[in-house]
């Protein structure tokens, strides 16, 4: 053990370097996977230097290896290649630098790469990054469209030309990126970050033409997929041909088949919209006019109904009623007067029939006392009483005389 260091007894550099080297040397061997970011072979030097980058994080580590390891037949070590490295952390005491000392480098084959992409896809899917509920609707007619494509690429031209033709008012905020190789993913992410931060940009298109599976690998980069998921602005992807599916297509809010298709998705077609508006306008007008006409016809029909159109009809029936009642009243009255006349006639006839005059006419006489009462019994009257005898011809005053001859 070395004595502890102090301002009075500092360690020499070699002591520190050896101690660090010892400690690092004890870490042992690891298998590391990454992407070759830089590769340098210096002339005939026996050591090859490379930088191994994490594809999903902004981290890298220097790797050194013997030339034989790097140049092993069958291993095509190029920048951008995915590799699995067997290495031991190493501290180079002469320079005080850290590196991984590789004893074996394996290229990650295409099948392996696709299997890896599939694993990442499953991982991200499990996290919910591809869920339909995360998909945001695109703005209807965005004023500014962010476009991330390779400079002067066919994809760029397809997006710009098609979108402008469909919606001439559209403006673009461009970000030209590397579309393949080890820097592509980072370059696209940088564009996303810039365009997403721009409040004027309403939708972002990431477009790239077709290419080999390896060319399209950056678009399955986990970091890029997460960056798209984190965007606040809706993202449309159009990467490769329709048959190529990269992970960005899963996370994008809209996956377009081609850059031209992306242009169709982001802006409406102006002529079509005009026709649509015209059509709607015509329909609306026809509906309102039709409705109005219908109401006018209804009102006309109501106003021509007899009860409203000729109010004198209200009186017609009533006048006739009055006339009829009046004539009924008159008839009734006449009838009753005639009846009364007949009654009077009958009464008169009966009075005539009951009158004593006819009896007197036949020779009968009525005897009355002075007070007018009728005499019905000789015993009722006294001797010498004056009486009146009434015959048909008139009255005859008489006196009662019960002489001897009278045998009453």
């Amino acid at each position: 053990m070395t004595a502890p260091s102090s301002p009075d007894a500092p360690w020499p550099v070699r002591t520190v370097a050896r101690k660090v080297a010892d400690w690092i040397g004890r870490l042992g061997e690891v298998w590391v996977e990454g992407q070759v970011a830089q590769l340098s072979r210096r002339g005939g030097a026996a050591t090859v230097f490379l930088t191994l980058r994490d594809p999903a994080a902004d981290m890298s580590v220097p790797v050194t290896c013997h030339r034989d390891v790097a140049d092993r037949p069958g291993l095509e070590l190029t920048e951008g290649a995915r590799v699995v490295v067997r290495a031991r952390p190493d501290y180079y005491v002469a320079r005080g630098s850290f590196s991984l000392r590789a004893t074996e480098i394996r290229a990650v084959g295409l099948g392996e790469l696709l299997a890896r992409i599939e694993r990442i896809r499953q991982l991200l899917a499990a996290e919910g990054l591809f869920d339909a509920v995360r998909k945001r609707p695109l703005p209807f007619a965005p004023a500014v469209v962010g476009v991330i494509t390779g400079r002067d690429s066919a994809a760029e031209r397809d997006v710009l030309v098609t979108a402008r033709r469909r919606w001439p008012a559209v403006r673009f905020e461009m970000h030209n990126c590397a579309v393949q190789g080890p820097t592509a993913a980072a370059s696209v992410m940088e564009g996303l970050k810039r365009l997403d931060a721009d409040p004027a940009v309403e939708v972002i298109v990431v477009a790239r033409g077709g290419g080999s599976v390896e060319d399209l690998l950056p678009f399955s980069d986990e970091g890029l997929v997460r960056a798209i998921a984190a965007c606040r602005t809706p993202v449309v992807t159009a990467v490769g041909h329709e048959t190529d599916t990269t992970l960005v297509d899963h996370v994008a809010d809209v996956r377009a088949a081609t850059p031209t298709d992306a242009a169709h998705r982001i802006v409406p077609e102006i002529g079509e919209q005009r026709r649509l508006v015209d059509g709607l306008r015509t329909r609306a007008r026809a509906l309102v006019t039709g409705r109005l006409d219908q109401q006018v016809r209804w009102l006309d029909s109501v106003r021509t109904r007899p009860v409203l159109a000729s109010p004198d009809r209200l009186l017609h029936g009533r006048e006739e009623d009055v006339l009829a009642l009046r004539s009924r009243a008159r008839r009734t009255l006449v009838h009753r007067v005639e009846g009364a006349e007949r009654d009077v006639e009958h009464a008169r006839a009966r009075v005539a029939a009951l009158s004593p005059a006819a009896t007197l006419e036949r020779g009968y006489a009525v005897v009355q006392r002075i007070d007018g009462s009728l005499v019905r019994d000789p015993a009722e009257v006294g001797d010498d009483e004056r009486l009146q005898v009434r015959v048909a011809g008139g009255r005859l005053p008489v006196r009662v005389d019960r002489g001897p001859a009278g045998g009453g």
Partner: protein, 74 residues
């Protein structure tokens, strides 16, 4: 009884229309006193004018909103 002549009647077209239909129905079904039927008829005339007013207004507004194809109008 003269709301039909006001510039801005408070009765809507639908209200007037509904009441008018009711008035006609009652007039047609009969069984009313003369005074009742005359009052109803007057109300019906008033409502018909009100309806006409709204429909005329609607036509004017429709004409005012006519697109350029309506020759010269803005």
């Amino acid at each position: 009884m003269s709301t039909a002549e006001n510039a801005e009647p408070t009765t809507t077209y639908e209200q007037a229309r509904e009441e008018l239909a009711d008035v006609v129905r009652r007039l047609e079904s009969g069984g009313l006193t003369l005074e009742e039927s005359l009052t109803l008829w007057e109300r019906g005339e008033e409502l018909a004018k009100l309806c006409q007013h709204w429909l005329d207004r609607a036509r004017e507004r429709l004409a005012a909103a006519a697109p350029a194809d309506d020759a010269g109008r803005d």
